[in-house]
Amino acid sequence: MLEDTGFVEVQVGPAADTFGGASGEDKARAYEVYGYAFLARKLA
């Protein structure tokens, strides 16, 4: 979707266990939900 919108040089960082130990952990584990950092650039 980022590239479809005109972004380039898309990077994705490592997964962060955002919900580990929180009450939402069970739902997060069920669908393998993690947090990620994304970096992209608008075409110059």
Binding site: T18, S23, G24
Partner: protein, 201 residues
Amino acid sequence: MADDLVVDPGTLRDQVRDKYREVAVDPHRSFHFHTGRPLAARLEYEQAAVDALPDRAVESFAGVGNPFSLRRIQPGERVVDVGSGAGFDSFIAAGQAGPSGRVVGVDMTPEMLQKSRETADALGFAQVEFREGLAEQLPVDGDWADVVISNGVINLCADKKAVFEEIHRVLKPGGWLQFADIANGRPVPPEALRDIDLWTG
């Protein structure tokens, strides 16, 4: 509602606003996600930058990742924070951009806006401003920003394509989008996608 959206954007927005109103006014109660300083440590924010902020700037932080982990804000850059909440990421960005930079946080929840504005005043961060608005209709001129940041917000928007198009509009050519959000490794069943209660908790 557009045919390709699985939930009504307005209804979802109301639920999100209700949830994050609670995070603004009662940040120490239990949520289905972590908040505050423990969350910032979990997401590996720079400890010194977090320690430098007062509790009111950090306690309502409810992000899902670290939008500064792949790139730091450079001194003097103009930054837009989409869904700025109580301002935590905006204040981190302001620290990196320095006094010659500019940060505009945009949020739709009045309680978050009030809290972030009061904190900015208390910190004396003249380069930070908070505006009421939606991710799909940012109150920012086109080609204004060097950087757009966001944290755990886009996944809560029904029309993600509209959000990315709006971010693209406000960025200068060559500008950076650096954001954090959740992604699932296993497919979510269609009936769960249509259950609006699951979007916010």
